[in-house]
Symmetry: none
Subunit: 222 residues, 2 copies
Amino acid sequence: MAQVRRTPLADQAADLLLDRIRSGEWALGAKLPGETTLAPQLGVGRSTVREAIRQLAGRGVLTTRQGLGVFVTALDVPEEWDAVLRRADIVAVIEARIAIETEAAALAAERRTPGDLRALRQALAVRDRQRGEAAALIDADTAFHRSIVIAAHNPILAELFDGFTPRLRQAMIDVLRMRRDHTTDADQEAHARLVQAIADRDTEGAAQQSRSHLQTMKNALA
Amino acid sequence: MAQVRRTPLADQAADLLLDRIRSGEWALGAKLPGETTLAPQLGVGRSTVREAIRQLAGRGVLTTRQGLGVFVTALDVPEEWDAVLRRADIVAVIEARIAIETEAAALAAERRTPGDLRALRQALAVRDRQRGEAAALIDADTAFHRSIVIAAHNPILAELFDGFTPRLRQAMIDVLRMRRDHTTDADQEAHARLVQAIADRDTEGAAQQSRSHLQTMKNALA
DNA sequence: TACCACCACTCCTCAGACAAGTAGAGAAGC
DNA sequence: GCTTCTCTACTTGTCTGAGGAGTGGTGGTA
């Protein structure tokens, strides 16, 4: 559908530089041409080049030192999530969530502490109160799902979850706004059953509840 | 020992902003004051503020939109994988692999192309030939598991997998060296069964094979 | 040889100007 | 009353010109 959203020159310049770095034009530790050289080369102003460089510096690819120049400090860039998510289908995202969350739900059923359970029930209650705002509902929902992953007591799964769900916020809000319907009551019940399964230490049941809930979401979007 | 190296104003401004974000001054999704407001507030020029913002944007903390403003998209910079993995238990890693790979195996059974199948069988054959070197076996094994994830045709899962398995190489090699025993024949058979399930488009079977294989590994380590 | 002033080059910072995008207020037309 | 258009205020985006500040080399001097 090709959004009309045009990207700022600085972002384009950053992408261009990153491509040239990845292509091996400048080795690790090599010095880039000066800003005054780079600017006309990329066809943009000097301040734009500086912003592009800063952006890559924030990602750890470049390092600038006054009086010396700009240097390459990393070649790979952990394939930024934003880029991956832009290209990816929303269905693919749900599938990834199925993978992480069903396993997390099962582990949570085994390992949840009383404290986890409290947090879980509170998150559920908060989620129940959100019926108006799309953004607020998404935030409450995300917080609830996150508390399940936390209850699994597995830092890797937590990191995986935190790694890409925050970046989905806007997309989820848009989707929710698009389809203002059966999103509340049935969902809330499914969530409650999931919490109950975790409370009962029902490993199988927790995984199944989690899976079916997300599967419904996936089917609705596919 | 307090280096004399003075940091650029833009970096200081970025740190200052990040602190204020972390302190909760601006909630997730909230809009920051305009650059023209922020500049005198931080005591720097507008271009400097812009460079600070770009730096945080590169880290995924902020997002700018022309005409709208600057928004908080993450409350903290994502943690380094290496740091997470250093602290994490090897069991936690296996659990994360279970989450990703069983789901991937199921999807692969549905979506695998003839080409995927060829790659899968070749990776299996390569793995079969590796019986001596621990490092070579691990590499062949990783390649095999990766080809399953690739066959799932889900870029998110692939990215999750690639995100942390390469960093496990040394740890896996060490583990393998530690226990020089029943790691070959039974494993190889299990892998073959997994490939067969994917070839047969047996979704359930593929997931189950994958899970039980990794589960055995987990149990052996726990 | 050892020291020092100088210089060319780099990034750093600022200010000002204008372009471009967005949202909302208010007028105009139905 | 409702829709639609236009205008305005505010935002980030981009460019330019000007100096400041750090670094390393050059060449002169004792």
